[in-house]
């Protein structure tokens, strides 16, 4: 007879000394865990609820500008720096020369074209214009202005930094392009230490973007101009049609290709190696901004005036790859995450949304009571934060994942987060969890506006359906939304 029974000595299964770690034994046998699926479901539900509780995306506001923030640019060589330019040219602040403490006043001038100098001449002895700081460099970590770049006489409309991170290019309504030396991260320098290189043109500018190699950059205005850092005249100019070019972006993959949107509702592709533009896509409404997907550089997304964003493949412009709906007012700016998996949009409806690159609806909506119309949005270079600049003169810093735990995670914490994410992902289709995961509180105005939009779309769809039912079969083919908003493609 051979016999063995389970025998556990206490020494083997408990810790030796009281300051040792407790000993842990694992047995993954499913029979020891009855109803494991139900328990995981409950854990998933709890995880979804916890995610909602911890969803506090707003990190902080950065104030300093005295008018709406019109544009922003990242510094690719410095993670926590971000540049912002404002529309200060539209309102001019005067300071009384002798009794500055008492007589400070604000004088608004409605029209951009009105020249500040004429006013200056009138009151030359008594009043001088202050040097406005239209461009600021922010340190995101401390949310403070690191330095300011005074010089522009009107609203700054475009900002970009060179790929080596040394030169900041700005342009604006004052018909100048200015090249600034970006101070090093450690420099604590004064406002006036930078003397920009100024290129003057006949017309105002709307946007600027730097090429992904060389010392070239493109400006958008009455036409698309290609500039060199070392030359005061544009080296190339592209023109197709008479209307203003609103935005311009270089392709991150093929540096010679750039896309521009025009106020004649078109999106145009240019190749610097060719003498004439490549292609043009005319839509029913104009696109305010454009962004290339950094990971799939043949694709770009255009932020359109009709509340939607449209993702296109440059090789197949007759049809959008995806239509991203959710905003209830014109989309003003768009920027891709460095991962290329999602992009952030800012809209005239006073919200920012984050969309997946291939999803029709946004994954996230950010809003606060004080945030007005959003003119520019940027993902930070590490894809963890989103910065928005809005009409209320503030830049706002948001987390890209609303409930993400910031700071260094312990391995156990990280594992726990991963487990919870996996659970939510596993059970996200079940109604109870889906409801929690999908719910977002939105301002009443947006809630109502989206309901109205839904009603309008639904009635249009119904009407079309009825028209189709009462017309000859095949005479009214359904047009997908991906094609509906395109008028034509011009070669």
């Amino acid at each position: 007879m051979k016999v063995k029974v389970i025998s556990r000595s206490v020494d083997e299964f408990t810790r030796e000394r009281s300051n040792d770690l407790q000993r842990v034994f694992r047995n993954f046998d499913p029979n020891l865990r009855p109803q494991e699926k139900s328990i995981e479901y409950v854990r998933g539900l709890n995880a979804a609820k916890l995610e909602k509780i911890f969803a506090r995306p707003f990190v902080g506001a950065m104030e300093g500008h005295i008018d709406a923030v019109s544009c922003m640019a990242k510094n690719p060589n410095h993670l926590k720096g971000i540049f912002s330019g404002s529309m200060d040219g539209a309102s001019i602040k005067f300071q009384m020369g002798s009794r500055s403490d008492i007589l400070t006043g604000m004088l608004s001038v409605r029209h951009e074209n009105q020249e500040p100098m004429s006013l200056n001449e009138v009151t030359d002895n008594f009043i001088r214009p202050t040097k406005e700081k239209y461009i600021r460099l922010w340190d995101i970590a401390t949310r403070r202005t690191v330095c300011q770049f005074p010089g522009h006489q009107g609203a700054v409309q475009g900002l970009t930094s060179s790929i080596d991170g040394r030169v900041l290019v700005s342009c604006g309504t004052d018909c100048t392009v200015r090249l600034w030396k970006i101070p090093g991260a450690t420099d604590e320098s004064n406002d006036n230490s930078f003397k920009p290189i100024v290129f003057v043109s006949k017309n105002g500018f709307r946007d600027v973007d730097h090429k992904w190699e060389d010392n070239h950059f493109a400006t958008a205005g009455t036409q698309v101009d290609i500039w060199d850092h070392n030359r005061s005249e544009p080296i190339r100019s592209f023109e197709w049609g008479q209307d203003t070019v609103i935005s311009v972006r270089f392709n991150p993959g093929e540096p010679n290709i750039l896309a521009a949107t025009t106020s004649d509702r078109s999106i145009t592709l240019y190749d610097l190696r060719l003498s004439s533009p490549l292609r043009k896509l005319i839509m029913k409404t104009k696109s305010n901004a454009i962004a290339w997907n950094p990971m799939e550089p043949m694709n770009f997304t255009a932020a359109n005036e009709d509340c939607n964003c449209y993702s296109y493949d440059t090789r197949k412009l007759d049809e959008a790859k995806c239509v991203h709906k959710d905003h209830v007012s014109a989309v003003m700016d768009i920027d891709y995450s460095p991962t290329g998996r999602e992009f952030v949009t800012g809209s005239y409806d006073r919200t920012i949304r984050i969309f997946p690159y291939n999803g029709g609806h946004s994954r996230e909506i950010y809003h606060t009571k004080r945030m007005q119309r959003v003119f520019c949005t940027q993902f930070t270079c590490d894809g963890t934060y989103v910065v928005s600049g809005s009409d209320d003169t503030n830049l706002r810093l948001w987390k890209a994942k609303a409930s993400e735990q910031l700071g260094v995670l312990l391995p156990r914490e990280r594992k726990k987060h991963e487990y919870e994410e996996a659970l939510i992902n596993r059970f996200k289709h079940l109604p109870e969890i889906n409801r929690v995961v999908r719910h977002r509180h939105v301002p009443k105005s947006i809630f109502k506006a989206s309901a109205l939009r839904r009603t309008v779309n639904e009635t249009e769809r119904k009407k079309e359906e009825r028209r189709r039912a009462h017309s000859a079969p095949g005479s009214m083919k359904p047009i997908p939304m991906r094609k509906k908003r395109i008028i034509q493609e011009v070669e």
């Binding site: 063995k4 556990r8 479901y41 709890n46």
Partner: protein
């Protein structure tokens, strides 16, 4: 090329046998961790989803392989066994000889405790198997730490105790008592509570007395400042008379830092349960299930205290109850021979099975949840398949009490004799494995396998005893599931986690694996032409070969037989022909409609459909 191929084949054949066996064994273990077959993704239309699910299946496969390898190589303990040589039989081996063979630590686990005064005894283990609650019929309650064989607490309630059950940990247990009328005990326990509460930290536990008008929980939470207030209230309680029939939950070691001599204190009376005969605690749901003298099944949530369900079985007195560990469905055995299965959300049983021709004496569920054993008074034990609700095997032996062990051994207590059966062949045919006889005249009341140990505990009329049954327990415990060496800190942490993972009563269903699963794809598939033809052929062949009855009075004449056969062939063909005709008609109609539409001018085409109808 050919030569190379042959060489390769040879190379493949020369795999060492040991390696192959190991692979087979690994596959066998892996199957357990795969938790069922792969989902059928062929039928999915959504390509993206199909890709995602295929990837997920792959991940499942990898994790199952990893788990199987971990089980094979990393487990600290091996399962117990009892092997015989020659003519020895395992069921002839006595406990004495086993105890002599095993190590000292294990030999101490087998014992007989004779307590002749207050029996018969019923018992329950905590899920880790470390603590045992003992309830003597005549009012003896005790908690024993089985690791170091020390008595945690013992006291007498001086009235009938019908059953005991541990709640989620060893600090709480419930006893089904007849009445709570012992004033002395009451005041004594309250005094001791107060003694401890003075100047000590107290875990925030609400203490309420159901029958009394006062609730002292509120004041108790603010101990320290209002000690007098507490005493006042309790004096009031002391004066009021207690005659409550129901379950009483006791708490041992209520004060966290009070470890020197643990205290058992009366905690809560639940009179709604009536005269409960059996108690079971559903660990994942924090539900205490009880069945009482009148055949009423009660579910009570022990966290919030609310009654979740109160159902009349309508089948009379019932004292046979077990919980299916797989799905937490409660099985009740009735005197009419029926076994009913209940969930807290359903007022009528999900399943009613007529299992025996006499009263059902015992019910036990296999830990896998797919088999059930029942014993009837007509001296039959039956093994049931719970997927098909069919009997698998019937044995002609009587049993007073049944239980399955973690590894699937079946213990059968009958009179003063206990047998352990084992399914050695793998087809659920249980054969005797071991047996043990007590002194004649002892009546075994309850058998309980100790989790994670090779021990079978017997509660009988003269006390309780433990025997060694090699191979009954799971050799390797999981510290996060049930830890026999749990410290107080770990216990507290686990309590919080298990409360967070508490399941709602609605999750008790017959098949809990359905949650989050894929709905089976239902598509009516039209059989192909050749399949239909084959079916037709088969039907004709079957009709031709059908046996003919021999009939008298000229009705079996060859001509008649021939005609009958022809008729039967025509009858067999009929449904196929009908089906074909129907389809052809449909096709014709469709064609006609299309042609009509084509002929008509565009403006009139929409009227064509109506006309065709």
């Amino acid at each position: 090329m050919g030569m190379e191929g042959e060489e390769q084949e040879k190379a493949e054949k020369v795999v060492p046998l040991v390696v192959q066996d190991a692979d087979d064994e690994l596959e066998l273990i892996k199957k357990k961790y795969l938790r069922g077959d792969r989902a059928n993704l062929e039928a999915l239309k959504d390509k993206k989803l199909r890709g995602q699910l295929a990837h997920r299946e792959e991940v499942y496969g990898k994790s199952a392989t990893a788990a199987a390898k971990a089980e094979k190589w990393l487990m600290p303990n091996e399962q117990g066994y009892l092997e015989t040589e020659g003519l020895e039989k395992t069921w002839r081996i006595k406990q004495e000889s086993i105890v002599r063979e095993v190590d000292i630590l294990s030999s101490k686990k087998a014992f007989d405790l004779v307590l002749p005064e207050l029996g018969p005894y019923t018992l329950d283990y905590t899920s880790s198997g470390r603590y045992m609650a003992v309830g003597g019929r005549k009012g003896h309650l005790a908690i024993v730490d089985m690791n170091n064989m020390s008595l945690v607490k013992e006291f007498q309630v001086r009235e009938t105790v019908r059953d005991v059950a541990f709640l989620h940990n060893e600090l709480f247990f419930a006893a089904a008592q007849k009445k709570f009328r012992s004033k002395e005990l009451m005041s004594k326990s309250l005094d001791s509570i107060l003694g401890i509460l003075r100047g000590r930290s107290f875990s925030s536990i609400l203490i309420s007395f159901v029958d009394a008008t006062c609730e002292i929980g509120d004041t108790m939470l603010e101990v320290g400042d209002v000690t007098f207030g507490v005493e006042d209230t309790i004096l009031e309680v002391r004066d009021s008379s207690f005659k409550v029939e129901g379950i009483h939950i006791f708490i041992t070691g209520m004060v966290q830092n009070f470890t020197a001599s643990r205290l058992a204190s009366f905690f809560h009376v639940m009179k709604e349960h009536g005269a409960a005969l059996k108690l079971k605690f559903l660990k994942n749901h924090f539900l205490l299930a009880s069945v009482n003298k009148f055949g009423q099944l009660h579910y009570q949530d022990v966290t919030m205290g609310g009654m979740v369900g109160n159902y009349r079985t309508g089948l009379g007195r019932c004292d046979v109850m077990d919980v299916n560990p797989f799905n937490a469905v409660v099985g009740l055995g009735h005197s009419c021979g029926k076994v009913t299965m209940w969930t807290p959300t359903n007022p009528s049983p999900l399943v009613k099975m007529l299992c025996h021709h006499g009263p059902v004496l015992a019910v036990a569920f296999h830990p896998g949840g797919q088999q059930m054993a029942t014993a009837g008074r007509e001296r039959k034990i039956k093994i049931w398949d719970l997927r098909k609700y069919e009997v698998l095997h019937t044995y002609s032996t009587g049993a007073r009490t049944l239980q399955f062990s973690q590894k699937g051994l079946l213990s059968i207590g009958n009179g003063s004799h206990v047998e352990v059966w084992r399914d050695s062949s793998g087809n659920h045919d249980y054969r005797p494995y071991m047996n043990h006889s007590m002194v004649k005249g002892y009546q075994i009341e309850k058998v309980a396998f100790r989790p994670y140990e090779d021990v079978l505990a017997l509660g009988h009329s003269m006390g309780f005893s433990c025997t060694l049954v090699p191979g009954s327990g799971e050799p390797n415990f999981d510290s996060w599931v049930a830890n026999p060496f749990e410290t107080a800190k770990q216990r507290r942490e686990k309590e919080i986690h298990s409360l967070l993972d508490k399941l709602q009563p609605e999750t008790i269903v017959l098949d809990p694996t359905n949650i989050g699963g894929l709905r089976p794809w239902r598509r009516k598939e039209r059989p192909a032409q050749h399949e239909r033809e084959a079916e037709l052929e088969a039907a004709i062949e079957a009709a031709k070969n059908a046996p003919t009855k021999h009939k008298t009075k000229g009705r079996s004449k060859p001509s008649k037989l021939e005609r009958k056969k022809k008729d039967s062939i025509v009858r067999a063909k009929r449904p196929f022909v009908d089906q074909q005709k129907k389809e052809e008609d449909q096709l014709l109609k469709k064609k006609q409609r299309i042609s009509e539409e084509a002929q008509l001018p565009v403006s009139l085409q929409r009227f064509a459909r109506k006309k065709a109808k």
